[in-house]
Amino acid sequence: MTLTQSLKAGLISVLIAGTATQVSQAQVPGVTADTIKIGSFGALTGPGYLYGKLPMNGIEVVFDEVNATGGINGRKLVLVREDDRCDPAAAIGAVKKLISEDKVFAIIGGGCSNATFAARASLDEAKIPMIVMASVHDGITTPLSPTIFSVALTSTLESQAQLEYAISQGAKRIAVISMRDAWGRARYQPLMEAFQKKGIKPVLDEEMSPDANDATAQVLRLKAANADAVLIVLYPKPAAIFLRDAQKLGFKPLAVGQTGIADPAAFEDQVGSPGATAQFRTISMVRYTPEDPAVDKWRKAIESKFSGDRLSVFNLFGIGAAQVMVEALKRAGPDLTREKLVAALNGLTDFKTDVYGAGITCTVTDHRCNKAPTWIAKEPGKPVRVLGVTKVE
């Protein structure tokens, strides 16, 4: 058989299988008498896998716990993963596959910002309920989508919080250093708007690439400009290089991070320069860092199910999102429909999860359900401290 023939035969058999299952399908997609299929999309491969694969691992351990006690109203939860490689086209394909082919009931997903944003149209069209687990792009939840809810802090919230924090600590000459990729830009723009609203301008606006190995030029300029606080919109690696070079060149500002650098203990190791992180403060989407005993249960779950892995904040993102979904599914009752799930999600008020800084609250007009950026810091040689939770509107 030639290759084209085999391809066509394969395609036709998939078609037949698809039609056959359609005939025997329950009326509500993804729900049978004893299972609920939940889909997830995000990066499983490529650099974005931290925001895709690892949160999905977190979702699975929550599902395992729920299934061990009999599931929700007698139905066990099944997770279907799809890879979007952090690419918008692949995300649209992944979402279409989850909806039309895997026929999932609802989705917990969204790793990379641009990818999730591009997929929003397909999600809205299918009216499938979705909880965003890690994407921070504002456009996913604004303008309001009736079926998309987010438990990830949006980039606007975080950027506002960063600026507020720096001002509250008495900084007068605030500078910004950012990455200009999609993730960075989603934060940079609201940050500039936040500056404008306060009527101040950043003293300097620097840039670093995600793979950069040197920050000497940026540090020298910031030092010359006498910046007393630097708002860091970077991933851990460039941030680590930045703080290391700052230490090397004798520049010690207040360093204000965000949820991209959510584990100050790991970050201290990454910087590798003793004392460089003394003035580093950062936001966490979740209240606990991985070493905290409060999340021991989840550490055991992740490290036993995924051998070789270590519990990380990325797992915690998925755990929180999954707990919210589980609660909403419970409230939607045994006669499960997508409309009921959406109603249950809309009704969540101050729902406490194991991980988020405050309770989760969604309303019919605002689906940004997590507005509690938690400030954390780690003094060298001491454990991580929670400094407080800022409530942002």
């Binding site: 690419d87 918008p88 909806i99 149209a121 999609a182």
Partner: protein, 335 residues
């Protein structure tokens, strides 16, 4: 003509493609439309790399220029799609033509690197020229409508893509059969010899680059309409690798091979969804196995195994490897 001859297989694929939307669900229609777009990219790249022998890595960048061009003309200047689409392709073609200038001086891996450098530069422009390109966040393109015709946007775009594939396929076939095609092959197999036979290098290299830019630009315009979203991610080096893989897997130098290669690769990428976290490993393994066991690509395999598959295959003679870094001719040992 034999039952599995080239014409029959291609015809069968065409018929399937024509009725596909009525048979397949939304996901598969999306995949099919993606295949059509990649077929265009593969044909254009094959003309440049397989037929004219220019080891260029800029195709993904021109794909991006086509997408950005079409999208930005609609969003920034308010042009309708019917005007923006060909204009975007023309912009990509022009850029391709400009790229042919360094190609005159460079060959082999040096050309590869300079086109790669250009591709990085294009990415940088997409990211940093925020006032025009909207930067890293990308932008949404307006949803196009096929107004007087009673078709939905998805269907309309699918058939538009199919139509363009058919037209541009025949264009490419005829091009390769013409004097221009023969000149390309002459340039690939020995550009000094070609020059001595009167083939104007500048003209034909420019033509090859321009044509591949045109095909990439058309593909880019369709892509921007299909996704309704343009951002820098889709036009990076991974994209370039996929395109190169399509051309090699299909068969360097064969236009029909580009169709098979594009179909095969997009299908493989979608089929790999089943392997969840191991995609990269399996994709790499498939790619390596393909190249080792089917050195002539699918077309080479078909020519060898299937009777009746006649194919004007413009490949270099076997065993010939274009020198990469030309070592010096003298006998001295250098360090």
């Amino acid at each position: 003509m034999a039952l599995f001859g080239r014409h029959n297989v291609l015809l069968a694929m065409l018929l399937f493609a024509a009725v596909a939307p009525s048979l397949l669900n939304a996901y598969y229609v999306f995949v099919a439309n993606t295949i059509l777009i990649y077929v265009l990219l593969a044909i254009g790249l094959n003309i440049l790399v397989g037929c004219a022998g220019q080891l260029a890595f800029a195709n993904a960048a021109m794909f991006g220029i086509g997408a950005y061009g079409t999208g930005l003309l609609q969003v920034q200047l308010g042009w309708p799609f019917w005007l923006a689409f060909p204009s975007g392709a023309i912009i990509a073609t022009t850029v391709g033509l400009a790229l042919s200038l360094p190609a005159l001086r460079l060959s082999g891996l040096y050309l590869a690197l300079s086109t790669l450098a250009f591709a990085q530069f294009t990415q940088w422009v997409f990211l940093h020229w925020e006032s025009v390109t909207f930067g890293a966040g990308g932008f949404k393109t307006p949803s196009i409508s096929f107004a007087p015709l009673p078709v939905s946007k998805t269907l309309g775009l699918y058939y538009l893509s199919l139509l363009l594939v058919i037209i541009l396929f025949f264009l490419a076939q005829n091009l390769m059969r013409s004097r221009i095609g023969r000149a390309f092959v002459a340039v690939r197999d020995g550009d000094i010899a070609a020059q001595s036979l009167g083939v104007d290098l500048l003209r034909y290299k420019a033509l090859a680059f321009g044509i591949s830019g045109f095909y990439a630009g058309i593909a880019g315009g369709l892509y921007s309409a299909m996704l309704n979203f343009v951002s820098p991610e889709g036009f990076d080096l991974f994209q370039m690798v996929i395109q190169k893989a399509m051309v090699v897997v299909g068969g360097l130098g064969s236009i029909a091979g580009s169709i098979l290669g594009a179909t095969a690769l997009v299908s493989v990428l979608e089929a790999l969804r089943a392997v969840k976290g191991f995609q990269e490993i399996v994709f790499g393994a498939i790619l390596v196995s393909f190249i080792i066991f089917m050195p002539g690509g699918i077309i080479g395999f078909l020519k060898a195994k299937v009777r009746g598959w006649e194919e004007p295959l413009h490949r270099g003679p076997p065993g010939k490897r274009v020198p990469i870094a030309t070592p010096s001719q003298s006998g001295e040992v250098r360090s």
